[in-house]
């Protein structure tokens, strides 16, 4: 029964108290920063572009470092050693694409959504509808993963029985309701402050644990690694070299290369990341945002390297695998080992805060995309754009998305959810990034090309996933078909779990073919305007009158 009883030694009262204090404080902050808010689209979607670069950089790291980054990567390093580290490198290097090619040009060209930029010089309705479709797809996959993850975390951290789906469902619902409250009460300004607070807690928490571990080993990384190898026993030496997870055969190796591509190219196409660039007044601040984000995210991933090997050394793979939540329990178990139930309570609350901040960011992005791209510009043909009616639609959408996320999270609870995040990155890298880059840099790119690369990239990615081992046909060691999402059947023919290596180049090709094969002509005047605006930021700085 020990296994089902959560992390042994965790104190439910402490955990719930710390978490409740976090929710109370953040809700207070959300209300405080919005005490004089304006009910405009600019205010709701982007806080009027009033954040500074450093503030936004911290918020970006709060938006980006999900529970998967914190618990998932630390656990992956503890169990698989070097292969876990590979993830964090892809997640970090990806930010250079955002810094060099996307952030500033996007800030200068659009106002609220990815669709603003993609549709700038195209026919509005079809391209905005396409941009909203892929935005909603990416945010939905990502949101579902976070919500379902919340259920698993409960079992792990609050001593809820792993089989007690009802209590887990209640917690998922609570997460959803708090998230809706953040978004409705706070809009982008409130959501941003929640992300800033969460990022600070997460990074400070990780820093304290990192210093603690390094202190135990006299700040000698080699000694820490040696101890991790020793604790793991016979297979320990594998921890220091790549291949423990992905080195099994040719297919898994190719799968890893494919994943690596999606990670590095996906970030700059994630709609909730793109939307954060609109919360600063100009390109210079967008640039500073990304440089702060790169610094903080890089630092955090260096911490997780120490945390992962520290968990391997001090807790050990066996104890981690025996705990509920398995790989995800490495960091909480490490906290318990180092600082007892109090530190575990704090780390548990930070993990919850992480989920809350990320889902709030996703929800506001999806609601903005629906209200601004679909409702205001496709349905109402731009007549209500930016007005109170659009904001009302955005708020209603946020509630609907929250309810859908709660229901989806409850249904997906217990499923293998890691692939949902990978899927979100694959769609972002395949459907969004090629379209975005073509729009910004290729003069001839036209409406047909944009539609081909968005819908084509989306369709190819989902098609390949459906026929991959993720959905069906994966066997366990005994040959039983129970390792995929749908068990007991096998209709897979695509060998890779990550479609990126096929879908990303194909989407670039589709965008090219759609452009050259269609009779559409690119509008040179609109391209001139877009290019001049994107590089100079004409009118953006003045839109802000604080």
């Amino acid at each position: 029964m020990r296994l089902a009883a959560g992390v042994a030694g965790s104190n439910t009262v402490i955990n719930i108290t710390v978490f409740a204090v976090f929710v109370a404080i953040t809700l207070g902050v959300v209300l405080y920063v919005n005490r004089r808010r304006a009910n405009t689209a600019a205010d709701f979607y982007t806080a009027g572009g009033g954040f500074t670069g450093p503030q936004n950089g911290i918020a970006i790291s709060g938006d980006y470092l999900s529970a998967a980054s914190f618990l998932g990567i630390a656990g992956a390093i503890a169990l698989n050693g070097y292969d876990g580290f590979l993830f964090s490198i892809g997640f970090l290097v990806a930010w250079l694409v955002a810094l060099l090619l996307v952030a500033e040009l996007l800030r200068n060209t659009g106002r609220y959504t990815m669709g603003d930029v993609l549709a700038f010089r195209m026919r509005q309705s079809p391209v905005r509808a396409a941009a909203a479709t892929s935005t909603l797809a990416v945010t939905f996959f990502y949101l579902l993963a976070q919500m379902a993850g919340a259920g698993g975390l409960v079992a792990l951290l609050l001593n809820v029985d792993a089989k007690d789906k009802f209590t887990q469902s209640v917690v998922i619902a609570v997460v959803g309701v708090v998230m809706i409250a953040y978004v409705l009460l706070g809009g982008m300004r409130g959501t941003t402050w929640v992300q800033i607070i969460k990022a600070a807690l997460l990074i400070i928490g990780a820093a304290v644990m990192t210093l603690w571990i390094l202190g135990k080993y006299g700040f000698n990384l080699s000694a820490l690694l040696g101890d991790a190898v020793k604790t793991a026993g016979a297979t320990g030496d594998k921890l220091l070299a790549p291949g423990a997870q992905y080195g099994k055969n040719g297919t898994t190796k190719l799968d890893f290369v494919s994943l690596g591509l999606a990670l590095v190219l996906g970030t700059a196409g994630l709609p909730h990341v793109l939307m954060r660039f609109y919360t600063v007044p100009n390109a210079r601040e967008a640039r500073r945002s990304v440089s702060w984000a790169i610094g903080l995210i890089g630092l955090f991933y260096l911490f997780t390297l120490v945390l992962g090997y520290g968990a391997g050394a001090l807790v050990g793979p066996k104890a981690i695998n025996d705990a509920p939540g398995k790989v995800n329990s490495a960091a909480p178990l490490l906290a318990l080992q180092l600082g007892g139930p109090v530190l575990l309570g704090i780390i548990a609350a930070v993990a919850f805060a992480t989920i809350l901040a990320v889902v709030a960011g996703l929800t506001i992005t999806a609601s903005a995309s629906f209200a601004h791209d679909v409702y205001a510009n496709v349905i109402k043909k731009g007549q209500v754009s930016g007005k109170a009616e659009e904001v009302r639609v955005a708020r209603v959408t946020a509630v609907v998305i929250g309810v859908v996320a709660i229901a989806g999270g409850i249904l997906a609870n217990g499923q293998n959810i890691a692939f949902l995040v990978a899927l979100a990155f694959a769609v972002a890298a395949s459907a969004n990034l090629p379209t975005l880059l073509y729009s910004l840099f290729w003069k001839r790119f036209n409406t047909a090309g944009a539609l081909w690369s968005i819908y084509g990239g989306l369709a190819v990615t989902i098609f390949l996933i459906v026929f991959s081992p993720v959905v069906s046909g994966k066997k366990d060691a005994a040959g039983v078909l129970n390792q995929s999402m749908i068990q007991g059947v096998d209709f897979h023919w695509f060998p890779l779990e990550n479609p990126g290596i096929i879908s990303i180049p194909l989407s670039f090709l589709l965008g090219y073919l759609g452009t050259v094969l269609s009779k559409d002509k690119a509008d040179p005047e609109r391209y001139a305007e877009m290019e001049v605006r994107s590089l100079t930021g004409v009118d953006t700085a003045k839109a802000l009158v604080h």
Binding site: A38, A41, A42, D43, G48, G50, Y82, F85, L86, I89, G90, L92, V93, L96, V97, L99, L100, L101, E104, D116, A119, F120, L221, S222, A223, L225, G226, V229, L240, A241, P242, G243, Y246, F256, V257, G260, A283, R284, R287, S291, I294, G295, G298, Y301, L302, S385, G386, E525, A528, E529, E531, V532, L535, T536, G537, V538, D539, A543, V545, H546
Partner: protein, 118 residues
């Protein structure tokens, strides 16, 4: 706080502005050239460097797992940490470059366009 809602959609203020003329001006071409000459090669470089790392980790695990000296630090760990170093270095270099070489030119053009259009 008030935010200008009148020019919400990408149908900007009364188009007295001749974007194509600005686009073909030598100043703008210079700005565009400076930006592209920096970001395209650097993007190619860091993507190649990252890909090299991924391919080495995937197809040369023995090399990446080799230990340095008598320590537990492996070649792969150094390579991984170098990815962090290169990412930080490129970020620093780009911010410096953009602050010094792009912003003044972009600001000058922006002022000219905004004054000319009103």
């Amino acid at each position: 706080m008030s935010t200008d809602l009148s020019k919400d959609e990408p149908s900007p203020p009364p188009d007295v502005r001749d974007w194509e003329a600005v686009q073909s001006s030598p100043e703008f071409q210079d700005l565009r050239h400076r930006l592209r000459r920096f970001v395209f090669p650097v993007t190619g470089l860091f993507l190649a460097w990252y890909l090299l790392f991924v391919l080495l980790a995937t197809y040369a695990p023995a090399f990446m797992g080799a230990k340095l000296g008598g320590s537990n630090i492996t070649v792969g760990l150094i390579f991984g940490l170098l990815q962090f170093v290169s990412t930080f270095a490129i970020t620093f270099a780009y911010v410096r470059f953009a602050d010094r070489r792009l912003d003044p030119l972009a600001g000058q053009l922006r002022d000219e366009i905004e004054e000319g259009g009103r």
